[in-house]
């Protein structure tokens, strides 16, 4: 049996391995599946990533799951670049589940481009080489005198041309070359130029189908009453109020399961349409045993976390030099951050059809293998009897790394003889999320009499995620990424960091940038506090701690990644320049800045924010500048859209977002109580990118972590220092 526990580290590791430089001559994943004989030639499919039919129509299969981050465009661009075809002529499809190696569908950690860049270039170049060989054979010339040009092969001796489509059957009969050359980046026609999203037109005309839009013949709909408290139990239910409702088909109940997904006990109402299912659900009377929820309150959790940071961390994560020996002034600060929900606008959902010992599912999954392997393990299906149809997602942000709806709907569909779609309404989606954990941070610095930063300590206390996904024996308890979980970017001689796990009975999961976001807030607030305490300019102070520091290797999940202080200094300077850091400001205008490294996505970002203070704890955001260095950029407009979106996401977090728990129950129940930033609150934004020839890095999460600290640092420049998120908790308001 396959190990079904997984964490983000797994695909990060995959990514790091895949990015170890250009490997020429490795075999393409999925290749053996597509070995063809010339007799069955309808199309040429040299790998799982593309197919070219006899008319020359190119279909590119996207290995990564699209949820708004633009892999449906960036990944085809990479392949089309080497294949030398016009992206507009390419048909883009989701790579069907099962056509790729295990793990290759996995989508998260901003890893998609990094994992696929070399693979897709190679796939495009290999197909092109085979097509060119077929043309050369046809003309009886050497392949060297043939060149690819926008879906055709040109014989450069006589300028004769053949379309790819005319060559695919001959190409399919050729052996796959062991080695192919790749373009020099200076010859790129597509990569680095803005391309419109490939699915754009379908989105704008309502044709795009997300999970919730998927229709399967004969399907019915289910809404579930879930135990309001995690690990609570269903005692009994009474559905007599439903007996005259014609559209209600059946009411079933099921038992929950523990790690990795923590599906709760539930009572499901199955109906012919979504509305009836949802409405009838409210009429079922249920008795729960929810005594386990007693006393599970976020208020007391924060007190416990604060208390916990006062003693030694449970796990020491990084230790450099000797912080105990550093002599000087002690400077400390404490920060706190709340539980957060993902709040994708498409709520969670999944369809399952159970037929004897077979099950077929439809839905959006960021980690489809994890879902399938868990289903196999929990329900005892044979691997070949589980079929998964992947759909697009109306937002992911890490929410669909989890797959509780898939497990629920199998439990339901096993009790009904039609395909069933489980639909989470907004209340379900808010209350039964896998929440980004709350945390309290204690930071302590030692400063010598000249203000030199001698020592840095950071103790994080919070309920860990992996205890939820992997169970109590997890080895991945600590969540220190984004802080000094290893030597970090600022040059400090003595550093010690640690983590303490404090239990709290609510499900937890990964939300965009996860602990990198959480810890960057603390780190970049604290460094700013030190600078202000020393009466130094916060930008100059940061730069002084980066100055002259060369890149160095750090180990992350068993692989080596680079920490590059000069690239951080680069984005800091860029953001500062664009906000006009040294400009004379209007009265009551202040700027704040923050930076970070997202090293396993090989990317660096900074934000600078200008505010106008309008009263005590009252302000207006005038402008936000985002700067990013993520190496070679595939689709510049895609990058900008991600960076702009990350600002909105970040503002929701710093200003508003908070999930609270009382007696084990989540209090918030949708967008009225778990508010997101709205249109009229959107400040002007500008995004700048460092022009870089470095290997491409990731983008999706990188622009998020520095939004909160940059805003808080701007407020601090005005004499107010928020230390608890969201800042409205401490009475801040904005207009």
């Amino acid at each position: 049996m396959k190990k079904t526990s997984i964490d983000r580290r797994r695909f990060i590791k995959l990514g790091s391995l895949a990015s170890g430089g250009l490997v020429i001559g490795f075999s393409l994943p999925g290749q053996s599946l597509f070995t063809q004989t010339p007799f069955d030639c309808e199309y040429f499919q040299p790998s799982a990533y593309l197919r070219i039919d006899k008319k020359g129509k190119v279909t590119i299969f996207v290995a990564k799951q699209e949820s708004g981050q633009g892999v449906d465009t960036a990944l085809p661009m990479i392949l089309a670049e080497e294949l030398d075809v016009d992206l507009r002529d390419v048909n883009v499809e989701i790579a069907p589940y099962g056509t790729l190696k295990e793990g290759e569908h996995d989508t998260g950690g901003s890893q998609s481009v990094m994992q696929m860049y070399d693979v897709l270039r190679k796939a495009g170049a290999t197909a092109k080489a085979m097509i060119i060989s077929a043309a050369a054979k046809h003309w009886g010339v050497k392949p060297e005198i043939c060149a690819a040009d926008n879906g055709t092969v040109v014989n450069t001796a006589n300028m004769a041309r053949l379309n790819y489509g005319d060559l695919v059957c001959d190409a399919a009969a050729l052996p796959v070359p062991a080695e192919v050359g790749l373009k020099s980046p200076k010859d790129f026609k597509l990569i680095g130029k803005t391309e419109k999203r490939t699915g754009l037109k379908n989105i704008l005309t309502g044709k795009t189908k997300y999970g919730l839009d998927t229709k399967v013949p004969g399907m019915v709909y289910a809404a579930v009453l879930r135990c309001p408290v995690q690990d609570g139990k269903l005692i009994s239910f009474d559905d007599s109020a439903l007996k005259d409702m014609k559209d209600v088909l059946k009411v079933v109940s099921y038992k929950g399961t523990a790690a990795p997904m923590h599906v709760r006990d539930g009572v499901a109402v199955i109906a012919t349409n979504s509305w009836t299912a949802l409405k009838a659900r409210d009429l079922v009377r249920v008795q729960w045993d929810i005594t386990v929820g007693k006393g599970v309150n976020t208020d007391s959790l924060f007190k416990a976390l604060e208390e916990r940071t006062k003693s030694k961390p449970q796990i020491q994560v990084f230790d450099k030099g000797n912080v105990d020996k550093a002599q000087g002034e002690t400077f400390t600060a404490q920060y706190s951050e709340p539980f957060l929900a993902h709040a994708t606008i498409e709520p969670m959902n999944c369809i399952a059809a159970v037929n004897g010992d077979k099950v077929e599912l439809w839905g959006g999954f960021q980690l489809p293998d994890w879902a399938v392997n868990t289903i196999i393990k929990e329900f005892g299906y044979k691997k070949e009897n589980v079929k998964l149809n992947l759909t697009l997602m109306g937002g992911g942000f890490g929410r669909r790394l989890h797959f509780e709806p898939a497990l629920e709907v199998v439990k339901i569909a096993q009790q009904f003889d039609k395909p069933v779609q489980v639909i989470w309404d907004r209340v379900d989606d808010t209350r039964f999320d896998a929440f980004r954990p709350a945390s309290v941070h204690k930071l302590e610095a030692k400063l010598d009499k000249n203000g030199k930063l001698l020592a840095w300590q950071h103790h994080i206390a919070g309920p860990s995620i992996s205890i939820m996904t992997e169970g109590p024996d997890t080895k991945n308890l600590a969540e220190n990424l984004g802080g000094a979980d290893k030597d970090f970017w600022y040059d400090v001689p003595n550093v010690r960091t640690g983590f303490s796990s404090v239990n709290f009975n609510i499900n937890r999961g990964w939300l965009r940038a996860v602990e990198i976001c959480v810890n960057t807030f603390a780190v970049e607030s604290f460094i700013d506090e030190i600078a202000l305490h020393l009466k130094k300019d916060p930008l100059a102070y940061r730069l002084s701690l980066l100055e002259g520091r060369p890149a160095f290797d750090v180990r992350q999940y068993g692989t080596i990644v680079k920490q590059e202080p000069q690239r951080i200094a680069g984005v800091l300077k860029l953001a500062a320049e664009k906000i006009g850091w040294t400009d004379k400001r209007e009265p009551n205008h202040f700027v704040g800045i923050a930076t970070h490294s997202f090293i396993f996505a090989r990317a660096y970002a900074a934000h600078a924010i200008e505010i106008e203070v309008t009263g005590d704890k009252k302000f207006r955001i005038k402008k936000i500048v985002g700067a990013i260095d993520c190496g070679l950029v595939i689709n510049p407009d895609g990058l900008r859209n991600q960076m702009e979106g990350a600002i909105v996401f970040g503002l929701s977090q710093v200003l508003k977002g908070e999930i609270t728990v009382q007696d084990g129950k989540v209090a918030e129940d949708g967008f009225y109580s778990y508010e997101l930033l709205r249109f009229d609150e959107m400040p002007p934004v500008e995004i700048y990118t460092v022009d870089s020839k470095e290997e491409p890095g990731g983008v999706g999460e990188v622009g998020l972590p520095t939004v909160s600290p940059a805003l808080c640092n701007a407020l601090a420049a005005a004499g107010m220092r928020p230390r608890n998120l969201p800042i409205r908790k401490d009475g801040y308001s904005w207009s």
Partner: protein, 154 residues
């Protein structure tokens, strides 16, 4: 249960539905017009917006019986081929990320432009604040709306 006749995107449909069923679910589950999205069901996100006689409304808040004899326009019927000025502007700017909220966003803007050819910035703010975008495309939505305003006033 009643037999209800609706005019959706200039087509007549007769459906068997509870008169109280929100238009949203009739569109999605009965007519399989899934361009209109469910996001909250309680008038807090705007994903479900459709035009009712040209005005943008939350289809999750409209009992289907109240939509009889009205012209219902969903994103699928906003234009024949995706060339409504708003769709063109959205395409030009490259607004969407996941795209899930975008049919509601476009319909909200269309309802506004049906009423005011040159809405003020305050009106745009007020109208578009009904619609949430978790991916954070507000900046682009504003830009696209301005392009469309220029286009329709040409």
């Amino acid at each position: 249960m009643a037999s209800i006749t609706l005019n959706v995107n200039n087509k007549e449909y007769t459906v068997d539905a509870d008169p109280d069923m929100p238009l949203l679910w009739v569109l999605r589950d009965k007519l399989e017009l899934t361009g209109t999205k469910y996001g909250c069901g309680v008038a807090s996100c705007g994903a479900c917006m459709v035009l009712l006689d040209g005005a943008a409304v939350y289809s999750c808040q409209r009992a289907v019986a109240t939509c009889v004899k009205k012209k219902i326009t969903t994103i699928e019927g906003l234009s024949e081929d995706g060339t409504h000025p708003l769709q063109k502007a959205w395409e030009k700017v490259g607004v969407p990320q996941c795209g899930y909220c975008q049919s509601g966003q476009i319909i909200a803007a269309a309802g506004m432009l049906n009423k005011y050819k040159r809405p003020t910035e305050e009106m745009i703010d007020q109208v578009m604040s009904s619609n949430l975008c978790r991916c954070g495309t507000y900046h682009r939505i504003r830009e696209a709306i301005h392009i469309a305003i220029e286009e329709i006033n040409k």
